[in-house]
């Protein structure tokens, strides 16, 4: 820890002009928790005020170089306090509650940003972050731009297809069992926005599907997150699964992989995500 302190001090000494700039727009005293929140902070041009971020904040690339305070539900009181922040902007559900109590007792302000999977929710997120960072004008502008972009892309996606495709969002195929998204999730929201139909409407949230249910859902296309680890499966592995092999998606070998935070973040980039998914679903 001492080393890092010394290092940060050294780095600060060499960046005095930027330091002055910080003084103009507010001190460097904010911790952002939640991938979408961090994205909005940067989109508002306030990235220079961030001291640290959580494990899910991976965009933009600058955010990755910030120290990582861990998982949103398991924050470490002392770890967070070691940055001496005056404000934490967090997605819904930061915890554990005892840690939040201690942070509040240490005069750290806490702003919780509401979650949601539609345009109003995105606009509300941007406004909350803007209010917490005390840049309401910038937030207003970004919110207006985002709403305009979303409206435009939704107008296009709504009319582009007379026969909407059935999309199945698969979170993982661990051990051959398919964990798919039902309703009420970010995946369900974005599929609808991009002009598709969620192939699974029988349950809420992410649940393992029985092989027959996969066949009965008859997805035209499979949507997955593009990342390493247990979530990735090659096309051959994927369509080699007996459950999937009988679906229209397997016959056309139709699978779309997109970055998780881009696809499910519901932030300023969501209009682009909707457009990208729409292009992938309905290639011209």
């Amino acid at each position: 820890m001492m080393h890092r302190r010394a290092f940060v001090g050294l780095a600060l000494a060499f960046t005095i002009p930027r330091n002055v700039l910080w003084a103009a727009t507010g001190a460097r005293d904010v911790i952002a928790i939640g991938g979408d929140v961090t994205e909005i902070v940067y989109a508002l041009g306030q990235g220079h005020r961030l001291l640290a971020r959580d494990a899910t904040s991976t965009y933009p690339a600058e955010a990755r170089s910030l120290p990582d305070v861990g998982y949103i539900r398991r924050l470490s009181a002392e770890g967070v306090l070691s940055f001496a922040p005056s404000l934490i902007v967090s997605a819904e559900g930061a915890g554990p509650p005892e840690v939040i109590d201690i942070l509040r007792a240490a005069d750290v302000q806490f702003a919780e940003v509401p979650e949601g999977y539609d345009i109003d929710a995105i606009v509300q997120k941007i406004k909350s972050v803007g209010a917490a960072l005390d840049v309401p004008d910038k937030a207003e502008t970004l919110a207006r731009d985002t709403r305009t972009a979303m409206d435009a892309v939704l107008a296009r996606t709504a009319q582009s297809n007379p026969s909407p495709k059935r999309v199945m969002f698969i979170l993982s195929t661990q051990g051959g069992r398919i964990l798919a998204s039902g309703t009420g999730t970010g995946a369900d929201g974005i599929i609808g926005m991009a002009g598709g139909i969620n192939a699974i409407s029988e349950f809420e949230g992410y649940k393992p599907l029985s092989d027959e249910a996969v066949g009965a859902a008859a997805p035209d296309i499979i949507l997955m997150m593009d990342r390493s680890g247990d979530h990735s499966a090659t096309d051959d592995e994927l369509f080699g699964l007996p459950a999937l092999s009988v679906t229209p998606a397997a016959q056309n070998r139709d699978v779309v992989r997109m970055d998780g935070l881009f696809l499910l973040g519901f932030g300023p980039r969501t209009a682009d995500a909707v457009a990208a998914l729409n292009r992938a679903l309905y290639p011209a």
Binding site: M1, M2, A55, Y71, L75, G79, S82, P96, A105
Partner: protein
């Protein structure tokens, strides 16, 4: 006492001497845990300030008093509870694999915690008002107790508890609790699922003085009572019939052992989640080192358990600072290889 007086005295003396060493080590590790952390705050300078009559900064006061101190106290208590619980269970069941889980505490506490995490939204308003944020630990504690009492009822006939029935019924009850937990896991959403996983790995991250006040007295009293069971457990090592013939109230020892272990580990698991390894390994390490006499063993187990857990807790919070590892990962990753190594080295000498 006649029984114990004829045991080889050198090992008993060694075990007694170990009390002092372990107590000193606990003190050192305790001070160490107050000294290191993610912030630059340290115990020494803060004490110096106090000695000079200066006031501590807000940061120093919060980090030392509200964050590190309750974690240290809970770490000591939980470590002692788990290790003594393990030693008592191994003595009671005369089985080296026994741990507090055998009396149903872990399965019941796990089910309680999972219910609280998944079904919190369905809890009646008065309950939410009464326990506030602490629904999970409260549910874990009562879940652990309920399953222990149930198991105790099932295996007690005409005032006599059958240890064998308890073992088997415990497995059945554990499977049932596991299945109920599975149903709840199935209906949980992905965030709850993550909470469940983390709960199972244990953490002292949510330590607070409120938790110390709630769980501390229960753990302290039951650990102290359990430490008096040494003579009874030594007797039981000869078999129940023999123990009764040498004038031991066997049923009384069983009752006390089961109830104190349930209370101590129930409260420990409630405040810290599932922390494996300490309960099973600490007693074995001590038996290898200083012999199987339960009278010094139980006290040493309390001290060594507290020592190891506080050490693991410090590692958990500094190794990936500013984030924090679940403590169960640290105890298992560091402890298991060490235990294996000691076991293999001593293989020729011991017969577990």
């Amino acid at each position: 006492m006649a029984l114990a007086d004829h045991l080889p005295s050198s090992r008993v003396t060694r075990a007694r001497r170990l009390h002092v060493w372990l107590a000193c080590a606990v003190g050192v590790v305790g001070l160490f845990s107050l000294t290191v952390g993610a912030t630059d705050v340290s115990l020494g300078p803060a004490l110096l300030k106090l000695a000079k009559g200066e006031a501590l900064t807000r940061m120093e006061a919060i980090v030392l008093w509200d964050i590190r101190a309750p974690r240290l106290v809970l770490g000591l208590l939980v470590g002692a509870a788990l290790a003594v619980g393990g030693a008592v269970m191994q003595g009671l069941f005369r089985n080296p694999l026994a741990d507090p889980g055998l009396v149903g505490v872990s399965a019941g506490a796990g089910l309680g915690a999972i219910s609280a995490i998944v079904l919190a939204a369905l809890a009646p308003a008065w309950l939410a008002l009464a326990v506030g944020d602490q629904l999970v630990p409260v549910a874990a504690f009562f879940g652990g107790w309920a399953s222990t009492l149930l198991l105790y009822r099932v295996s007690t006939r005409r005032g006599r508890t059958s240890v064998a029935t308890m073992l088997l019924a415990g497995i059945a009850l554990g499977a049932l609790a596991g299945a109920l937990s599975g149903i709840l896991v199935y209906i949980s959403d992905d965030r709850q699922l993550r909470d469940l996983t983390f709960w199972g790995l244990g953490s002292l991250g949510g330590a607070s003085w409120a938790k110390v006040v709630a769980a501390g007295p229960i753990i302290l009293i039951s650990v102290l009572v359990a430490c008096t069971l040494g003579r009874g457990l030594n007797g039981l090592a000869l078999g129940e019939a023999t123990a009764a013939h040498i004038g031991l109230n066997v049923q009384w020892v069983k009752n006390l052992a089961i109830l104190t272990v349930a209370a101590a580990t129930g409260a420990a698991v409630a405040v810290s989640g599932g922390i494996g390894f300490i309960g099973i390994v600490v007693p074995h390490l001590l038996r290898l080192g200083s012999g199987p006499d339960h009278r010094p063993l139980l006290i040493n187990a309390a001290l060594l358990g507290a020592l190891l857990l506080v050490l693991a807790e410090v590692i958990a919070r500094v190794i990936i600072a500013p984030a924090e590892l679940p403590i169960g990962i640290v105890t298992a990753v560091l402890g298991a290889p060490v235990f294996l190594w000691i076991l293999l080295r001593q293989r020729g000498m011991v017969d577990l």
